[in-house]
């Protein structure tokens, strides 16, 4: 039985700048009232551009950082108010895989030491650590005989597999994957994606998969959420989102991703957005996307669109949602 993950009304703020005493600090709302549910054993893909708050949300889910309000539930157990032993037990249930396999591993520790540490912290497999380490390495497609090697003796893809093995060590129910393949070369990336897929099937894992590369997200996700400046703007089953996106930002994002197929690529009509994302410390009034949106009206400046349910379990936050195919072969 896999564990569901539920995030409701999550808010995470950072104080930025303001000098030594922070009197003039600006408050950046990195995650602003975000809610979604991931069914047990599913992958929820979270996409958006840099600064949209997707990584911040992932870090809060894994309790690598606190959040300011809202709740995070694992199969009905709320994390808020947990501390000490109870919080440690929670952390065991949700693990995290980092983007950069070069900086995420301690260069002075062997793979065995890296993988045995979480076992010691959570008092798991005591007396049989070596066996567990060997099992983990095998599970991620590495040679168990290489346990005494150091990170620099492995390639980028192998290091990311070690990062995944470390997350698996404590038998988690949910794994937050923060850009797990974006630092890898294409020919290596496919192997890690296939591995993540296999592990999910074998172990019944629930994934929160954070990435900016929508092609990769499509490959691994069951549902996808799109974030813009701290807000969830659209959320839908994967094929609905990619084939019939409703939010103009999702449509622009999809149309901007190049497809490795010249005839398709050259026939596509690209929506090129004007400008850059606004300053997160000072987001636009009303709809945060309106400053770059071609559909924006006066209403968008005054009235913030709420995330509303549409047919087929889709949710979108836009006053003028409209289906538009942007990934198909026919120009829209």
């Amino acid at each position: 039985m896999s564990t569901s993950l539920s995030v409701s009304h999550l808010v995470k703020e950072y104080r930025v700048g303001g000098g030594l005493f922070g009197r003039n600090a600006e408050v950046v709302r990195a995650v602003s009232d975000v809610s979604f549910t991931v069914e047990g054993g599913d992958t929820f893909g979270l996409v958006g551009e840099s600064g949209c708050g997707k990584s911040s949300l992932g870090r809060s889910v894994a309790q690598l950082q606190t959040s300011d309000s809202g709740s995070i539930e694992l199969g009905g157990d709320d994390v808020s108010g947990l501390s000490g032993k109870a919080l440690r037990a929670w952390r065991r249930r949700v693990q995290f895989v980092f983007q950069d396999p070069y900086s995420a591993l301690n260069p002075r520790r062997t793979v065995r030491a890296t993988l045995a540490e979480p076992l010691a912290i959570h008092r798991l497999h005591q007396g049989a650590e070596d066996q567990r380490v060997a099992e983990l390495l095998e599970q991620v497609g590495l040679n168990p005989q290489h346990a005494s090697r150091f990170p620099h003796q492995f390639s980028g893809g192998q290091r990311q597999r070690i990062g995944i093995a470390r997350a698996l060590a404590v038998e988690p129910e949910v794994i937050v994957l923060d850009e797990p393949v974006s630092a890898l070369d294409v020919s290596v990336q496919a192997g890690v994606l296939n591995l993540l897929d296999d592990l999910q099937r074998d172990l019944g894992l629930t994934y929160l998969f954070i990435a900016h590369d929508l092609s990769v997200v499509r490959y691994l996700s069951d549902r996808v959420g799109v974030m813009y400046l701290g807000k969830l703007v659209e959320e839908a089953p994967v094929d609905d989102l990619f084939e019939r996106a409703l939010h103009p930002y999702t449509q622009a994002l999809l149309s901007a991703i190049p497809v490795p197929d010249p005839r398709v690529e050259r026939a596509r009509k690209r929506i090129v957005l004007a400008g850059d994302p606004p300053n997160p410390a000072d987001p636009p009034s009303g709809c945060r996307f309106r400053t770059r949106c071609w559909k924006a009206t006066d209403r968008c400046a005054t009235e913030e669109p709420v995330l509303t349910e549409h047919d087929g379990g889709r949710r979108v936050a836009c006053h003028y949602p409209d289906e538009r195919a942007v990934t198909s072969k026919e120009p829209a």
Partner: protein, 333 residues
């Protein structure tokens, strides 16, 4: 494009570096031809030698590099030129756009001054007013709004995408014959990447410059390149016009790369990605023969691991460095 004049010829280019563990080879036996007006994509993964090749063309390799072969621009040999000679060529004949615009721009000079400086170096006869007018014009070409006002701003006042536009403006300041773009959009978000690729296309239409685009992204190449050269472990494995490369792929590495890409326009939750086994060889430890052979699904021992395969012509302007080019495509994996 095949009728157009040859602008750049790279012939049998090899680059290596002496290290403690022996000679590290970065590039070996690379040859290709770039014709005036075309956009060529130079594609490969990290360590394939694509950036080293570009650096060699620009004369920007570190002095410790051992370089052999020939690089000719309109027939003129560039390898072995003195630094001062090279400086005359860089910026006026060949210009480069780097990946990281923030470190490539001077933080304490306004963008207008930097653009004017780029013009002055190669056109000292111009007046300050002419250079300033040119700076505004350049910002306009790359799509920077209100260029008259922006010309007085400093790089930190621009966003990442805008800085990359300024970089492109600087590089085209003297209307170079060849523009080398080294992963120009890799550090950018996708919506900004789309803008920058649009700018490059626009610049090429307006100035007719030849573009050598260095990238790991086959999607970017699919959208902008006329020709593609694919590199693997320091050597060219395949060269072709854009469509034959994607639809009539002749090298197993290119085919593997294309098959391993997840695609935005395909339902894929229940399919597995093709996975090229193993990993690229270390620069100090290249295998004998075809360097892709240890990872190739179609390898024949005693053939592929003997000599580095020479280019085999499989179509018009389409070559593959594969000893089994005629047979591998008929083999079912």
């Amino acid at each position: 494009m095949t009728g157009a004049e040859v602008l750049l010829e790279v012939e049998d280019l090899s680059i290596s570096f002496p290290t403690d563990e022996g000679l590290a080879r970065a590039v070996q036996g690379v040859s290709f031809v770039l014709r005036a007006g075309e956009t060529m994509g130079l594609v490969g993964e990290s360590g394939s030698g694509k950036s080293m090749t570009a650096m060699a063309i620009m004369g920007l390799l570190p002095t410790s590099a051992v370089v052999e072969g020939s690089v000719r621009l309109r027939g003129r040999e560039l390898l072995g030129l003195s630094e001062s000679r090279y400086r005359e060529i860089r910026g006026s004949d060949i210009a480069v756009v780097f990946q990281d615009a923030l470190t490539a721009l001077n933080p304490v000079m306004t963008v207008g001054d930097q653009l004017a400086e780029a013009v002055r170096v190669h056109r000292p006869d111009t007046t300050a007013a002419q250079r300033r007018a040119r700076a505004v014009e350049l910002l306009d070409i790359v799509g920077i709004p209100s260029p008259h006002e922006r010309v007085n701003r400093f790089p930190h006042e621009f966003s990442g995408g805008m800085r990359q536009r300024v970089m492109i403006a600087t590089s085209i300041a003297n209307e170079p014959d060849l523009l080398i773009a080294d992963e120009p959009t890799t550090a950018l978000d996708v919506t900004v990447q789309a803008q920058i690729l649009e700018v490059l296309r626009e610049v090429q239409t307006r100035t007719g410059t030849t573009v050598l685009l260095i990238t790991h992204d086959l999607g970017v190449v699919a959208g902008v390149a006329d020709r593609v050269v694919v590199m693997y472990a320091g050597g060219v494995v395949e060269a072709a016009d854009i469509e034959p490369l994607f639809y009539d792929t002749a090298h197993p590495y290119t085919a593997g790369l294309l098959a391993s890409l997840p695609r935005l326009d395909r339902r894929s939750r229940d399919q597995r990605l093709y996975q090229i086994p193993g990993q690229p060889p270390a620069a100090t430890n290249w295998p004998q023969g075809c360097r892709f052979a240890p990872r190739c699904a179609h390898v024949r021992h005693g053939l592929c691991d003997e000599d580095v395969p020479p280019p085999v012509e499989v179509g018009r302007g389409h070559t593959a460095h594969c000893a089994r080019v005629d047979v591998w495509r008929t083999e079912v994996e």
